[in-house]
């Protein structure tokens, strides 16, 4: 988990995180603003964000919190940047695997090597569900099961898509709430 109590890190200023959490299991909304009208909107957004975060919990692990924690004044959108990069690279990797599955039948070593890359990326951002599907695929490679690999790969793709949708929504919410909802990180 995150260290507690958390000292404000040098250079960290306001965070765009609406939801601050020590562990990904609990959501903590940011402090709302004074204006009552925007308060209501903000609250809604934050609720959505919290909700989304809850949903995301299944998809993301502690590592994602770590990534978010790296955000600071210098790079306030760091998490989103990393995630964006992740989806770019992972899309490419998935496409490579797809081609390899077709072009190099039963080339388990090759398939495994590609999937190892993808798995590495997943673990970097804490994409836990997708990562475990990747691991599944690699196991099937180890077993030499083409069928297992094919099925598992489909799952990887599904997880990939689902995660992307959710994270896109999440960051969008954050951005929308951003300027209005910018608040100092709640003290821990």
């Amino acid at each position: 988990g995150l260290p507690s109590p958390r000292r404000p890190r040098a250079g960290t200023g306001t965070s765009h995180k609406l939801v601050r959490r020590r562990r990904c299991s609990s959501a903590r909304p940011a402090r709302p603003r004074r204006n009552s009208e925007s308060d209501a909107e903000l609250l809604k957004m934050m609720e959505s964000a919290c909700f989304l975060r809850h949903v995301l919990e299944g998809y993301l692990d502690e590592q994602f919190c770590q990534v978010e924690d790296l955000q600071d004044e210098a790079s306030p959108n760091f998490a989103e940047e990393v995630v964006t990069l992740f989806f770019k690279d992972s899309a490419r990797l998935i496409s490579n695997i797809e081609q390899a599955l077709e072009k190099y039948p039963k080339d388990f070593n090759r398939w495994d090597a590609y999937m190892q890359q993808l798995k590495g990326s997943c673990s970097s951002i804490g994409a836990s569900r997708m990562k475990s599907e990747c691991m599944s695929f690699r196991e099937y490679c180890g077993q030499g099961s083409v069928d297992g690999c094919m099925k598992s790969f489909q799952k990887v793709k599904r997880e990939h898509t689902a995660l992307r949708q959710k994270l896109e929504a999440y960051f969008q919410l954050l951005r929308q709430a951003g300027p209005a909802g910018a608040a100092p990180r709640p003290a821990k």
Partner: protein, 550 residues
């Protein structure tokens, strides 16, 4: 200064082909206050490192393992070879093999992705630790005293940090080039023990298949890099080559009666050498050891009574290694040599009678003594004359009878081994740590001669065996030579007969001088095989015979 400030002085190079991972590690390192440079290819990283060799060099490299193009291991090797920078591996691969491989290749640490800030925060320790290898007082001061920080205040900490940054970035001119070069290069002393481990490993791998990388892995010695092994291996190979081409030289036995009977030379000065007069001329006659100074020379240490007196010659793991490998000469190679009850019994040795002399008589060796040997060479070169003189001195020096006798007994016993009677190895094991390697039996001798000495093969057989090995150039060649050299060592002390400059200057702590002398000597041209510079190399083979008694 606190740790944060110290980290702010360090410059880290991060290498990873995965953009996401690289972005993350960069951010994390920056959070820890390190200065960070990122590259996606090891080749690029290497260029950068090379470019900064003289100035602004990185303090630490963090690299991924699996990368297209040059992978982490290769990258690691090259860094170790060319520049002495601490390297940390970082990978999603958490298998034992990969992790161990990383460490064995020289990585100071292996982090499994995703890595946390806490792990990165303390990487600076590796930088400091690395600099401790060199003679750097300020670092040592810093590290020696755990309470350094509160005690001395900021100034010394500054020195430490400055030194580190200076050392790593600038070319450490202030501290003395030589010192720092050594620190950077991590010169390695090829001690007897180390060399024997090396030889062991090389033979285990097979002389043709022994590549530095594997050797380093198998040797598993802390601080030993592939670079060290590579250069040592090169010298070793050259030596083997020289020796094998000289295999047909006539070697003369060094069986001075006095030497044998007085049991000379197996004293703290070590071992003598004696030559076998093998008509087929197995080259041996390693007389000299690099380094003349008895006390400080590593051979002196190796050949110290303590060493000789110990049973254990090799660490257990190497026992395993050797046991797996049949060092002994296959019987078939012995051809028609009749091996049976050796002609000489241990009694001969005990009585001090020259075993070899007797054997050689039996086989009509023309040379029975050193004296006659010398005389056989009417025109000794200057070098040889010097050597001959030294030999005489050595021969004349008194020693411990029993040790000498035991050594010779060991020798003969070894020849038995060499004949390929593997089964016989067992009885020769003495003590808990003995192993059944032929050569190693030498060391288990003292005090145990009775149990050790067995039948002595005829020299003829021995000779043939040696010859066949040399000719076949098989794996056994090294061991043969080692054996030969071991025998040689029996009668000589470790004084350098060749008088290498390094040796003469009291303390040859570097094999380089030694080897270069060996290689400089033109051993086989002028027929001075017996007293050649290359002889010096042979004792190294013996090094693994003699446990340092650590």
């Amino acid at each position: 200064m606190d740790v944060d400030e110290f980290r702010a002085k360090l410059h880290v190079l991060a290498v990873d082909d995965d953009r996401v991972s690289l972005m993350l590690i960069e951010k994390q390192l920056r959070h820890c206050r390190y200065n960070v440079t990122t590259v996606m290819h090891a080749e690029t990283a290497l260029e950068m490192l090379r470019a900064r060799r003289d100035a602004d060099q990185f303090d630490l490299v963090i690299t991924d393992v699996h990368m297209p193009g040059m992978d982490g291991f290769k990258f690691l090797e090259l860094i170790g070879l060319e520049m002495d920078i601490p390297v940390i591996m970082l990978s999603a691969n958490d298998t034992l093999e990969t992790m161990m491989k990383g460490i064995k290749h020289g990585a100071l640490n292996y982090l499994v992705k995703p890595v946390g800030l806490e792990q990165l925060k303390n990487l600076w320790i590796h930088v400091v630790a690395k600099h401790m290898d060199g003679p750097s007082n300020s670092i040592n001061n810093y590290s020696d005293d755990g309470h350094h920080q509160p005690r001395s205040g900021d100034s010394e900490d500054e020195n430490v940090a400055n030194h580190t940054s200076m050392s790593s970035r600038k070319k450490k001119k202030e501290d003395g080039t030589r010192e720092d070069k050594e620190a950077k290069r991590q010169r390695i002393q090829w001690s007897g023990q180390l060399h024997r481990l090396f030889v062991e490993v090389v033979h285990q791998l097979g002389i043709d298949k022994a590549v530095p990388k594997k050797i380093v892995e198998m040797m598993n010695v802390e601080g030993l890099t592939r670079d060290h092994v590579a250069s040592h291996l090169q010298k070793y190979r050259l030596f083997l080559k020289k020796v094998s081409t000289g295999a047909y030289r006539r070697c003369n036995p060094f069986t001075d009666e006095t030497v044998w009977s007085e049991g000379n030379s197996i004293n703290t000065h070590g071992l003598g050498t004696f030559g076998h007069n093998l008509e087929h001329g197995i080259y041996h006659s390693s007389i000299s050891f690099a380094g003349s100074s008895n006390s400080s020379d590593r051979f002196a240490r190796m050949n110290s009574a303590a060493a000789i007196g110990t049973h254990s010659m090799l660490p257990t793991h190497s026992v395993q290694l050797m046991n797996q490998r049949n060092l002994s000469i296959p019987l078939k190679d012995m051809g028609s040599v009749g091996y049976g009850t050796p002609s000489n019994s241990s009694a001969n040795i005990r009585n001090g009678s020259p075993l070899l002399a007797a054997s050689m008589e039996a086989t009509n060796y023309p040379y029975r003594s050193y004296a006659s040997l010398c005389m056989s060479d009417p025109y000794p070169s200057d070098g040889n004359r010097r050597r001959i003189n030294r030999l005489s001195r050595l021969a004349a020096s008194s020693g411990q009878n029993s040790e000498f006798q035991n050594q010779t007994a060991a020798l003969t016993r070894t020849t038995t081994q060499m004949a390929g009677i593997t089964e016989q190895m067992a009885p020769f094991n003495i003590g808990s740590n003995t192993n059944s390697i032929v050569m190693t039996n030498y060391n288990s001798v003292p005090g145990d001669a009775s149990s050790v000495i067995s039948d002595l093969p005829s020299i003829q057989m021995y000779r043939d065996v040696m010859e066949s090995q040399i000719v076949s150039g098989g794996d056994g060649s090294g061991s043969l030579l080692g054996h030969q050299a071991a025998a040689d060592q029996l009668n000589y002390n470790n004084e350098s007969l060749i008088g290498t400059s390094s040796g003469q200057n009291g303390h040859s702590d570097d094999l380089d001088d030694f080897f270069s002398d060996c290689l400089n000597q033109d051993v086989f041209k002028n027929g001075d095989a017996f007293m050649d510079g290359d002889c010096e190399f042979a004792p190294f083979f013996l090094t693994f015979l003699f446990d340092k008694g650590n």
